[in-house]
Symmetry: C3
Subunit: 353 residues, 3 copies
């Protein structure tokens, strides 16, 4: 989509402030994974434990951590090889910028909306009454932003996102395609005639640097706010129910569901398909294994797995035991035969089960 | 978004037909949760067990059930405090009505569609051939209603909903953003050349007062109908497969999947991330715990949990036992040592495992 | 929606190259399930084990396999009754074709896009720069196709699908409503200031005859490709993470999540709500039970269930044992009482637990 740069190994070493060992005039055409890289590609070795790859890689040059050497291939020693690699990755593969600046003529912008000068708003987008959109924000075709929304600067809102009335997004928020922010919470009061909808009058507040995955749904609060903290990243197809609070720098994998009024701390790592019961408190720095079912509060720093969840090590021991459970029944039967032989009809009957 | 009312405690007592104890001239500016309420807020106490909150709440007035008193704060005794609270909630926070009446000029309405006079259809909506839309129905920007659809009165269809060809919606149906009603069922016949699509020719019929959550998907029947009964409420990201029938007044939490041709009764309560195998019958008044896996029919009134599911009490006992399972292996080893000591090589070998 | 045909039993027998026993002049108005069929309906009996239905069906005629007879109802013997039934199903209920040929005037087609002559593109669709769309492809209202996409022939792209930049679709690919193809992979590098987004620069390649369900999400690769092989069918609300490869003719049920860089073979059958950990290899012809959690590689032809998954038969034995686990604790307590009676305080204490 664009002409890639063609830097030499010496130029790259200078760019990443690294120390080059090997030829400085090798032209690098692309970056690649260490097992795929060819003679004009640059790759990286983040973990010195995999140094053996240096013996076999076909790469022209490798970003390595200080102290790693090779007499086969040019190496550039840097403090963080992966970070340097990402920088070059962005240089060689600039993010597609096919969305033109400005507002597409088919976008419908309510006359009371306040849209910064330098936004991009694609074909068929809708921006509702009194909504405010900050500098540098890019909204891809067919996103729908309802009334009274506040969107910060440099956000990226992908196609077919719904942002519902009253939602607040910070700066640099990324919403992948189809995400729904601010749908009604699932609140119904039982009555003799059936469930009566509890009006969902609160909002959703999303802090700076949050990313929400494709087709994920974040419900608005009944009253008050559903909150996603700074730097938190949610994968695809995640459900966050009304009045939930998620802290900062927490990551959550796909298909996880968080019930209403849960409170999740900072820097948690939550696996895929996890379920969290409503009104619980999950502390900071908690790690939750994939598919766990959380039915009780979890302390700061805990590592839990299983459904219902248990401390990870206990869960592992239980799972190891389970494999031998059918055999344990055999062993107990044998014991019963030895201990109760001919003496206890009742036990005998049990032991046939 | 609108000027809130400012009623006095006496006026509120009259409105909810309650008995006021305390000052009648206190002006109430808002409603709030009992722990958040300030001196000009009204709150409620639904459960007399939490009467201690009356000692600490900062609220100006509290809706309580008959017989609850306070000498700290004005109380209004009513028959159902929560129902009265909801009524005032709607009064103080009328639902946002930012969608203007009428059909937005950018909406595309097929000339053969039959649309009632008093609908609201937002920017960029699509309404297909021969589709009928009833009185008072509101369709938010970018909903897509295909051909031959019938939509009743007073429905609320949120942005980016898909309603596919031939779907029938009753009255007062609410579809949250991104819901898909009538996608093709997942039916493929194996052939030597690969799977061949089985045409999905049936439809989806949704009864009155149903709500479907954001990004949930309801597949059309292969032949015949997929049915959602009156007053049933589905949360976000739920999958309902082809030819499934769900009864009336059933509630289902997020990320639950119901396989094809399942039959679910009335007044069931189904937790989040539940999976139900196809062709099963779930009775009326069944409660299914979150994350349960249902692989067999469930009787009326049953309470089941776990995957595969078991009666809830048995499941609880098993889960309690599991925590002590590693220890049970120890105990059996000890028994084996005592009983078989020096007598049975085979048991000894087992006991080291 | 269209006038159904009215063939006689003799005409149908000729059409499906079958052998008719019974009247040839019976007019068939529709096809139906064997339990629902009336005197002018045709039905089928695929499995001779259900031959008793021939005694009770109200159908006018039944497609049966060779050798099945009836003296109650007309039967047409064919080699594959279900395949013949599907053929008649399509004849009597032709797939709705309400989408007109050509490009709707409200669709926005970038001038650099290359669109074949005989496509259908519905109202409000968006087709981005340099995108190519092949012959006979039908794109329903409000699908969004980004830049540099390649779409083959005879695809069916339903409303509100997102196809992101650089995605490649083969021929006859079907995407149900709301599916997202090519959303950013969930890749973030931890830094002292929080997670830094790893640019997601790869693409998604979908082979011929693939179907992707409603609101499913397929992430683009970080570098390289996320691949879905020929004839593979994905149900609704499925997550496929970045750099995953799925083979040919594999079927996956709803709400399953596949983590990054997993490799799944050909002809697998994967149940609903399954979770697959990243970087694993699942062989060919693998069957995975619903709700399984796969944390290790799975061999060709294996059948696994449970979370964490185990060979299906072991899993079944463990689940059967679990039902009797609380009772096993009783039995061990009894053994301890008999063996250690009065001799070991420590065991006694254990036995009260």
């Amino acid at each position: 989509m664009s002409v890639p740069p063609a830097l030499t190994t010496a130029e790259i070493a200078q760019l990443v402030q690294g120390r080059l060992t090997g030829p400085g005039d090798l032209v690098i055409h692309d970056v690649a994974k260490i097992e795929d890289a060819g003679p004009h590609d640059l790759t990286f070795l983040a973990n010195p434990r995999y140094a053996r790859y240096l013996e076999t890689t076909g790469a022209g040059a490798v970003l390595v951590s200080a102290g790693t050497t090779s007499n086969r291939v040019a190496v550039i020693e840097v403090s963080d090889p992966y970070a340097s690699f990402l920088r070059l990755l962005e240089l060689y593969h600039p993010l597609p910028s096919w969305l033109p600046a400005g507002v597409h003529p088919t976008a419908v912008i309510d006359p009371t909306a306040v849209v910064a000068e330098d936004v991009s708003i694609g074909a068929g987008c809708y921006v509702g009454p009194r909504t405010k959109i900050g500098n540098g924000t890019r909204i891809f075709p067919h996103a729908v932003i309802a009334a009274d929304v506040v969107i910060g600067s440099d956000c990226e809102i992908r196609s077919r996102v719904s942002v519902r009335e009253g939602v607040v997004l910070g700066n640099r928020v990324v919403l992948q395609d189809g995400a729904v922010i601010g749908s009604d919470g699932f609140g119904f009061a039982p009555t003799p005639e059936g469930y009566r909808k509890i009006p969902q009058l609160g909002r959703v507040v999303i802090a700076d640097d949050v990313e929400i995955g494709a087709n994920s749904t974040i419900d608005r609060a009944t009253l008050g706010e559903t909150v996603i903290g700074k730097g938190t990243k949610l994968d695809n197809l995640i459900q966050v129910a009304h009045n939930t609070t998620i802290g900062s720098h927490t990551v959550i994998a796909a298909l996880t569901g968080i019930s209403g009024s849960a409170k999740i701390g900072d820097r948690c790592r939550i696996g895929g398909q996890v379920g969290i019961v409503g009104h619980l408190t999950i502390g900071d720095d908690v790690a939750i294994g994939a598919k766990a079912g959380i039915a009780n509060d979890v302390e700061n720093g805990a590592v839990v797995s299983g459904s219902p969840s248990r401390p990870h090590n206990l869960w592992k021991r239980i799972e190891a035991s389970l494999t031998r459970l059918p055999e344990l029944f055999h062993r107990v039967r044998k014991l019963e035969a030895a201990v109760f032989a001919g003496t206890d009809k009742d036990s005998k009957r049990n032991s046939t089960s």
